[in-house]
């Protein structure tokens, strides 16, 4: 991260500054029962869930904060929240 005094930043800094590093749990798609309802993509508060195919979604872990709303709201429970381990 490049920072000057007072943390004044140019636009687009989120591309360089990954904000997902304080996540405790991460969503893992089972890609099993997905109906393609797009609920997870719509309710992700960070907007980091993307549709890859008609019934296939994935998450950008550089920015996912691990809130678990996607897993909670998925109507067919096709997302698991898995602990981050180092």
């Amino acid at each position: 991260m490049s920072l000057n005094h007072g943390a004044i930043l140019k636009p687009g800094s989120s591309r360089n500054n990954k904000t997902g590093n304080w996540r405790n749990i991460r969503p893992v798609y089972k890609h099993d029962k997905c109906t393609g309802c797009t609920m997870c993509e719509r309710i992700c508060p960070e907007g980091v869930i993307f549709q890859e195919d008609k019934k296939k979604f994935n998450v950008d872990l550089d920015y996912c904060k691990g809130c678990g709303i996607c897993a909670e709201e998925c109507p067919v429970k096709d997302i698991d929240m898995v602990p981050e381990e180092k």
């Binding site: 991260m1 005094h5 943390a7 004044i8 930043l9 140019k10 800094s13 904000t19 304080w22």
Partner: protein, 398 residues
Amino acid sequence: MRKYIEGSMAVAEAVVLCNPNVISAYPITPQTHIVEDLSQMYANAEFKGQFVNVESEFSAASVCLGAVVTGARAYTATTSQGLLLMSEVLFNMAGMRLPLVLTCANRAISAPINIWTDHSDAMALRDSGFIQLYAENNQEAADLHYQAYKISEDDSVRLPVMVNMDGFLLTHSFEPVDMPTQQEVNEFLPPYKPQHYLDVKRPITFGSMVGEDGYMEVRYNLEEAMKNSFAVIEKVTKEFEAKFGRKFGIFIDTYKMEDAETVIVAMGSVVGTIKESIDLMRANGIKVGLMKVRTFRPFPKKAIVDCLKNIKNVIVIDRASSVGAGGILATEIRSAFYGNTTTPKVNSYIVGLGGRDITIKTITDIVGNFANVKVQDSQFVELDHKYMQAGDDYLKTI
């Protein structure tokens, strides 16, 4: 030009001479005539910037923050509870390295409800990243404003400055004050040239989120900026003295220190009372002097140790207390001597809270009793034990 003028009015006129672009303040209690006078000058078109009345001190500070990030020179004034309501924004302004001058009329904090003179409000903000300067009289209070903008806006500093003057004792009292002309102030204080400001053509972000990977570094820079301000405060004070011929000390000031065995340390208007007391005590052969702290943040450790290292007795007068730790100025002065080969006997006295008068007798009694007391924790001076007993008795009747 020398005028017989109320402290608040002198500050209001000084602020207008500094040509701020935006003044924002909350106009209701707790407030002083500073803001009342500024709004009057705005209505009379003597102040040509923007005056923004808001519904709380939190908003006043926020308007100033917003103004400064657009590149404006801003000003606000508050006191007591108002300063506490501003506090979240003020920490942000320091962290974002935004120049601002804020006048704090030093007054007590509730509970119990009381808005009379003491230093509890500003002391609560001592860790905010604001530079804190304390005025002894109304001339110094007015003069500090011209200097405060110059210090605040210096590229190596870029920190907000809180000019402190005792509520009522200074803000509401009339004294002769020498007011400079607009031209003189313009020659001393150049227009504000911000390095960074919000501009749709060159978008930037102020107040970014910074995680554990960078927060410490940004806060370290803040600490460094505060250290840089020592040199800038010294330079600006000397420039001011050269131009206007007035000086009230740089980091500290002294009075009758030459052969002093006992030195009283204080900040704010009580310094005047202490000088009177010293004259009286010296007439009776007591070798006593004064060290006034003008710059409390950054804390001038070196200047203080140099001044007091050969002194036998040091009496620190605090007009605020860190509940659970005692006199704040005293604690910091004791800490400044840690590791020094010579250390005076430093005792801490808490006086004049909530507007209680500090009289010459208060001071002479402390000095008179000093030889009889050991080094001890902070003492509340002139407590009315009958009052406390009566309070206990009264509670039993409820």
